[in-house]
């Protein structure tokens, strides 16, 4: 019998889960209250990075994911994803930070990352400011256009039999409340794209839906209920709700701590190609792993196919506050201009904000939740969700199948399991 999987969330991670699960022959339904890629996916630069990750569980997933992006590019067409293996260049502004960067890069290299020390950074990026002592080139760093990539993955999943259902999941059904809900193959609700709210996903936090009835503890999941009262039967439910993964986990009876971290990305006017790589200062590496409250910025500068230059990325823990922080914008602008002086005369055309989903230890939470059999988490990727999406999709599929899938072996990624947040009894720590 084919395993019925409901994937909650049609962002890039949900789309990748659907793509891999459908490719593995599972019966997949993706459910989201909005259209594909309308949440944090549409607010990212499209980073597929190895360079910013220190050796450990995230880097292991990132390396797998990087290979799977190439595979997706071959299967779906690199153009449909705007997959560009442009490489990254991390530059250090002082001799001390260069030494630290080189040391960090050596450890990454030992973990399987290609990292090439560069002395003359302007050979790689002619418009960089003079006087930069050096950097490290990471040829494996790449970029995709996140919404196009999510849409392409979801389309491919649908071609492989998956369904996309518009609706908001408000609760789970489990074997313990089977008396109240029909089990077995229940007809799905309408699967046409009904009218959806177009506000919340693009303007910030989700409206909290009706208060769900929590499933009775201990029961295996049998389906999810939507706000419209439909029941989607499921043997397994994947929580790929990104920044809203904490709330969705709660509704499924399997809460995980996923918090929003606000970020702004600046977009310039379109220009002839001026920046070839993803270029960032070495401080970014420190910031990504930081637990400090408040504002952090360290800019990442890169060109896009559309000719614009993206300047990211700030990180602030301010809940779902949507206000533009003009001080952040000014700080990012100043940092970008220090790296690339020509940017002083280039116009900021647009800024966008997103809410990155992060877990307290800054690692994604991927794998089955021991408290509610059938619930599999795939969220909390913070700023790395685009890059880690295919690896996450393959890993989730492996967990669903109970065996490795496309080089994703659950035994090799135990550091990402939700168990790390739970006491041996199953209660949150």
């Amino acid at each position: 019998m084919t395993l019925k999987v409901v994937v909650v969330g049609a962002g890039v991670v949900g789309a990748a889960c659907a793509f891999h699960a459908a490719s593995a022959g599972l019966d997949v339904t993706v459910v989201d209250r909005g259209p594909v890629g309308a949440g944090t996916t549409s607010r990212g630069e499209g980073n597929v990075l190895l360079s910013d990750k220190e050796p450990g569980p995230e880097l292991a997933l990132a390396r797998l994911s990087r290979t799977l992006w190439d595979e997706a590019g071959r299967e779906l067409g690199a153009d449909t994803l705007e997959l560009e293996p442009k490489g990254g260049l991390v530059v250090a502004s002082t001799d001390e930070s260069l030494a630290a960067l080189r040391e960090f890069a050596a450890r990454q290299e030992a973990a399987g990352v290609r990292a090439e020390p560069v002395d003359r950074v302007r050979d790689l990026e002619p418009h960089l400011a003079p006087g930069i002592p050096g950097g490290v080139h990471y040829p494996q760093d790449a970029q995709v256009q996140p919404v196009l990539a999510a849409a392409a993955l979801l389309r491919a999943a649908v071609r492989r039999g998956a369904r996309f259902h518009t609706g908001e999941v408000v609760g789970a059904l489990t074997t313990r409340d089977g008396d109240r809900t029909p089990l077995g193959p229940t007809p799905l609700g309408p699967t046409s794209h009904g009218p959806t709210s177009h506000g919340p996903t693009s303007h910030g936090p989700a409206p909290v839906g009706p208060v769900p009835e929590g499933p009775v503890p201990g029961g295996r999941i049998t389906g999810v209920r939507t706000a419209a009262g439909e029941v989607l039967p499921a043997d397994a439910v994947v929580n790929a709700a990104g920044t809203w993964g904490g709330e969705v986990g709660r509704r499924l009876g399997a809460p995980v701590e996923v918090l929003p971290r606000r970020g702004f990305v600046l977009v310039t006017e379109p220009l002839p190609p001026m920046v070839r790589h993803k270029v960032y200062s070495a401080d970014y590496v420190a910031n990504v792993a930081s637990s400090d409250a408040g504002l952090e910025t360290s800019c990442v500068v890169e060109g896009t196919r559309g000719g614009t230059i993206l300047v990211g990325a700030s990180r602030e823990r301010v809940g779902f506050d949507t206000t533009l922080n003009t001080a952040v914008v000014a700080r990012l602008a100043a940092q970008a201009c220090r790296l690339f002086p020509f940017l002083r005369g280039v116009h900021l055309m647009r800024a966008y904000r997103g809410f990155r989903p992060y877990c307290p230890d800054h690692l994604p939470v991927i794998g089955p939740d021991p408290r509610v059999p059938g619930v599999v988490h795939a969220c909390g990727h913070e700023g790395a969700g685009i890059g880690l999406a295919p690896g996450t999709g393959a890993l989730v599929t492996a967990h669903l199948l109970g065996r490795p899938w496309r080089d994703a072996d659950p035994a090799a990624h135990t550091g990402l399991l939700p168990d790390r947040f739970l006491t041996p009894g199953g209660a949150p720590q």
Binding site: P35, L148, L266, P270, V311, A330, V346, L348, M349
Partner: protein
């Protein structure tokens, strides 16, 4: 100006000028800023004051008496040191800050040099007006095809006509003053194509009869057009423009009741310039990120929701004029006054409240003119079947050169609003950020709902260098304008 400011007014058109003058008369200290180089906005667009002798434009205007009175009043308050007038200042963001607002501007008086500055006040009044609403058609991106407002702006601001044989098309009463202005400057206006049915106004006669001033203005345009033998063609649209380096001809087609061109009836008319406009889209860029609620207007636009005193749903934030519903300059003036009265009342200003009679008179004028605007909007709708004149190759997004065919493909892929189309096609991602193509892409994907523009956190482009300056040495209040207005 060293003392704290009570109110920042963004936009110095009819609404903003009136609001600023009223608030100043009530004793408040005001910053009035505008991106233009002269007071007046689009309706009273003028060359900079020092150049008016060289570019005479008085004969193109209506209500100049009121404009001059407002200019005099504002000049007096400026001499008294209570008005800080900032012309050539572009507001790129307005955010809540503490109990008040911070308006982030770039000073472009010395353009192309830009200097960033921040203007702060407990209350903010946004009177940023509107711009022409556009519907694409084959050839609309040829040189010489302008918005109707663009033709008007060149004429009023620079004394320049963009062509010698001009066709105008679209819908709405605005086409008439543009035609009259061009004709008065010796331009041959070969056709004014009005998509609406001439008797559509009669479906809502009440508001028309109760606004005799509008009739008088309309009659004066009609007289000018008759004098210059300008043909006005109802139920007709410009469905294509032809040319290479410049437009050389337009195709005009009578429209069926649903707005589709009647097959086999097209006429080709040679021209060297074209003006098009389908009503207006309100400029909401500063308001949307502040989180003020929007409401649907009869013309299909989402507009700022305001109470009877022009207060938005955000405390301390007011708006007047086209931002809360396109209705023309006379309505904007009244709304500006109402907004300023609310600011005065809410600030606890010492000034006596306006007499009840004055307040009642303005409120009833606003009600009457809003009803008129609503009747106009219903009489001049965007024709339902306008996409019939698009081909798959027609450019919809001028900046990123996204075609109607690409938009249709995105729609077939499940994109059901302009934001989704943008993500999938880049339509609306270019320099203008969807200001030109947004309403059209909305019509192509989500007909039936009001057009709600994308949230634009950056309301106008600003150089990274100017922004960096803000980080490097925070300059709060740059020098006020020393030039005359």
């Amino acid at each position: 100006m060293s003392e704290p400011v009570d109110l920042v007014v963004v936009g110095a058109g009819p609404a903003g000028m009136t609001a600023a003058a009223t608030a100043l008369a009530g004793g408040l200290r005001v910053v009035l800023l505008d991106s233009g180089t002269a007071l007046g906005g689009q309706y009273w667009r003028h060359p900079p004051e020092h150049a008016r002798a060289a570019v005479p434009t008085d004969d193109l205007h209506h209500g100049l008496g009121r404009y001059r009175a407002l200019c005099r009043a504002l000049a007096a308050h400026r001499s008294a040191g209570r008005l800080d007038l900032r012309l050539a200042h572009h507001a790129w963001s307005a955010v809540r800050e503490g109990d008040g607002f911070a308006v982030h501007v770039v000073d472009r008086r010395d353009a192309p040099r830009e200097t960033a500055a921040v203007l702060r006040a407990p209350r903010l009044l946004v009177a940023t007006g509107a711009y022409d609403r556009q519907l694409p058609f084959p050839g609309w991106d040829l040189p010489g095809v302008l918005t109707a407002g663009g033709l008007q702006a060149l004429l009023k601001g620079g004394g320049v006509a963009a062509g010698s044989r001009v066709a105008l098309g679209g819908t709405g009463p605005f086409l008439l003053p543009v035609a009259a202005g061009l004709a008065a400057r010796g331009v041959e206006v070969v056709a004014v194509c009005e998509a609406a049915h001439p008797r559509a106004w009669l479906r809502h006669p009440g508001p028309l009869l109760r606004n005799p001033g509008k009739w008088a203005e309309g009659a004066s345009y009609a007289a000018t057009l008759a004098r210059h033998r300008v043909p006005v063609r109802p139920r007709t649209a410009i469905v294509a423009a032809e040319g290479g380096a410049r437009v050389t001809a337009v195709r005009l087609a009578p429209l069926a009741p649903d707005g589709s061109p009647r097959p086999g009836t097209e006429r080709r008319v040679e021209v060297d310039a074209v003006g098009v406009g389908w009503g207006f889209a309100p400029q909401l860029d500063l308001l949307v990120p502040l989180g003020c609620a929007l409401t649907e207007s009869a013309d299909g636009n989402a507009v700022a929701a305001v109470d009877a005193g022009q207060r938005t749903t955000v405390p301390g934030l007011y708006t007047a004029g086209e931002t809360c519903g396109v209705g023309g300059a006379a309505l904007a003036v009244h709304e500006g006054r109402l907004a300023a009265w609310s600011v005065l009342a809410d600030s606890g200003a010492a000034a006596p409240a306006p007499a009840n009679r004055a307040r009642t008179a303005v409120r009833s004028a606003v009600a009457r003119q809003r009803a008129f605007a609503r009747a106009m909007a219903l009489a001049h709708p965007v024709p339902r079947a306008w996409p019939a004149w698009l081909t798959d190759e027609t450019v919809v997004c001028r900046c990123e050169e996204v075609t109607a065919g690409a938009v249709r493909t995105a729609r077939a892929d499940g994109a059901h609003d302009h934001r989704q189309v943008k993500q999938l096609t880049r339509a609306g991602m270019g320099w203008c950020q969807g200001r030109m193509c947004g309403p059209a892409v909305h019509c192509l994907t989500a007909r039936g709902r009001a057009y709600e523009p994308a949230e634009r956190l950056v309301a106008t482009p600003v150089t990274l260098g100017a922004l960096a300056g803000l980080d490097e040495e925070p300059t709060d209040n740059a020098e006020p304008d020393k030039e005359c207005s």
